[in-house]
């Protein structure tokens, strides 16, 4: 599974009520009903486990969309 699909997968795991049609790479945290600070922590944890990386606090806080998470992961995988 490539990084893009893996991240999309993570979003559907962390937000189980998220419908396929409602997923967008640019959709921001504020547009998700349940993206609170615990969901943010879950997204980071799932990504760290999947890609075997560790994100810094700065990186973790800066993630506000699926696209932000993708870019962050890709920077670590380079």
């Amino acid at each position: 599974m490539d990084a893009k699909n893996a991240i999309k997968d993570i979003f559907f795991q962390v937000f189980p009520n998220l419908a396929e049609k409602d997923f967008s790479w640019d959709k921001e945290q504020k547009d998700y009903a349940n993206w609170d600070s615990f969901a943010q922590l879950n997204l980071i944890t799932f990504a760290e486990a999947k890609f075997n990386i560790v994100l810094s606090l700065e990186e973790s806080i800066s993630i506000k969309s699926a696209n932000d998470l993708l870019q962050c992961i890709q920077a670590h995988l380079k």
């Binding site: 795991q13 962390v14 189980p16 009520n17 945290q29 504020k30 009903a33 349940n34 993206w35 609170d36 600070s37 615990f38 969901a39 922590l41 879950n42 980071i44 944890t45 799932f46 486990a49 999947k50 606090l57 806080i61």
Partner: protein, 479 residues
């Protein structure tokens, strides 16, 4: 005094004053009382038991339903919207609730739990019923029931009476100076005692409460401060720390009218306190220490007491706190015991948990000490509960869920320090021989079976878990 009397007093003194703002919906005190009475009438059909559960995100409907249930002489059982099925069923069984009142969003997820045996009704369904007109209701000393993880794996029911709310609210008002000229921004969940206590305070003094769904969108919180000419804000320490990412000029501008920020005691970073002392040119940052069982037992106003940024303050008026040391060592620290009118007399149908209350003293399980001037400092807990941004989690619960997975030989959950949440859960896992289990599989299983704040933030695969001769995990060796 009942909290319904808080509302009635406001209706009498300020009938046309804005009581509540929730997005585009706003209500004066008179309108709020009318809606509360309508709601009480709509639930009159539930007349077999004395408890109704309420499960909703923040909204004006939450407040109307909360007050409406209490106004009808019943007790509210507060449920967290993202509760796991196990926890939900346990709470409903032990609370003996007659029905669940909820928002439409919550109803969608609740009705998936096919084992629910009681009616689940959405707010609008109830309010669309014919109004039965003025009714009289019996009074009830008890206001609400809330479950807390406390010091054991099984959540414990905590019942809060009107007299406890009255006592605590008056202490909050006296110490923090709330008044009817305040405009209070509340982005905290109302189904927790911190958020609910803030709402009670607004209702007591007759200030305007601006309710936000949450604090996820910090820009929106800042906009709300300005738009509503807010004078107070309630926020957890993690939110305050995140605000510091904004440009200082923006913060200075948006907080210029704020006279008070109230936060709670879950490990506030020193840097956050120091920054907000400067940002709040015309106000104060304050915190408190308390448990659901003993709300607001101390208060601390930071900018008047330089140098004590790690203290949770002094005991509130009428609240006694003592430090009970188990051994005669040199350390001043011991278990914190609390007594006062803010402390529960017993737990809800839980004789085992009642053992934590001795001669009206509540054994908190928290460890702390007083300095020479009577300021309380917390140093840890004498049990294994993990405190994640104020959410308390028993490690056993997480271990039991993880153990369900094939390929797990042993597991230990414990808290580790975290810059934002104070603590998060870490798992040490011993895999069975030849198991192909990976971290992602464990997380997938956890997210399907646990609330999101209980999901482990770190997982390590290890060779063994340190245990006592009796087989109990030595968690202190893992941290």
């Amino acid at each position: 005094m009942s909290i319904i009397n808080f509302l009635k007093n406001c209706v009498e003194k300020y009938p046309t004053k804005l009581a509540l703002v929730d997005g585009k919906k706003s209500l004066t005190f008179r309108e709020l009382y009318q809606e509360v009475q309508n709601f009480s009438s709509s639930i009159a059909v539930f007349n077999k038991k004395n408890i109704i559960s309420l499960c909703s995100e923040n909204s004006a409907f939450f407040i109307i339903a909360y007050l409406g249930i209490i106004n009808s002489g019943k007790m509210v059982h507060l449920l967290q919207p993202e509760i796991s099925e196990n926890n939900l069923l346990n709470q409903l069984r032990t609370s003996d609730s007659e029905a669940i009142v909820c928002s439409n969003i919550v109803k969608e997820s609740l009705v998936k739990h096919t084992s629910l045996k009681i009616p689940v009704l959405e707010f609008n369904e109830l309010l669309s019923r014919p109004n039965l007109g003025m009714m009289t209701y019996k009074t009830n000393e008890l206001a609400y029931l809330i479950y807390t993880s406390g010091t054991t794996a099984e959540p414990k029911g905590v019942v809060i009476s009107h007299s406890m709310i009255d006592f605590t609210t008056k202490n909050i008002v006296n110490v923090l100076g709330y008044s009817n000229s305040d405009v209070d921004i509340l982005p905290l969940p109302l189904y927790h005692s911190f958020g609910l206590g803030c709402f009670h305070t607004s209702l007591f003094v007759g200030s305007t409460l601006v309710l936000l769904k949450n604090a996820n969108n910090l820009e929106y919180v800042l906009e709300s401060l300005k738009k509503h000419h807010a004078t107070t804000l309630a926020a957890i320490p993690a939110t305050l720390t995140k605000f510091l990412k904004f440009d200082r000029k923006i913060l200075d501008d948006h907080f210029s009218n704020i006279r008070l920020i109230i936060t709670n005691s879950t490990s506030i970073p020193k840097n956050t306190i120091q920054n907000f002392k400067q940002i709040l040119k015309n106000g104060h940052l304050a915190t408190y220490y308390g448990l659901t069982e003993a709300s607001r037992s101390t208060f601390m106003i930071f900018d008047k007491t330089d140098g004590r940024e790690e203290s949770v303050g002094k005991a509130a008026l009428g609240v006694q706190i003592k430090i009970v040391k188990e051994s005669q060592g040199n350390s001043q620290a011991g278990e914190i015991w609390i007594k006062g009118n803010n402390v529960i007399k017993k737990y809800w149908n839980n004789t085992e948990a009642d053992k934590n209350i001795v001669d009206d003293w509540l054994r908190t399980g928290d460890i702390g000490y007083f300095d020479e001037e009577g300021y309380l400092f917390l140093t840890g807990r004498n049990d294994d509960i993990v405190n994640i941004g104020g959410e308390k989690v028993a490690p056993n619960e997480i271990e039991e869920i993880v153990k369900q997975l094939p390929g797990i030989e042993d597991v230990a959950a414990f808290g580790i320090d975290h810059e934002i949440f104070g603590q998060v859960v870490k798992l040490n896992v011993v895999k069975s021989k030849d198991s192909n289990l990976d971290k992602s599989k464990i997380l997938n299983h956890c997210i399907k079976n646990l609330e999101k704040f209980k999901i482990p933030a770190k997982i390590d695969f290890v060779e063994s878990i340190p245990k006592t001769d009796y087989g109990k995990v030595k968690r202190f060796m893992l941290k």
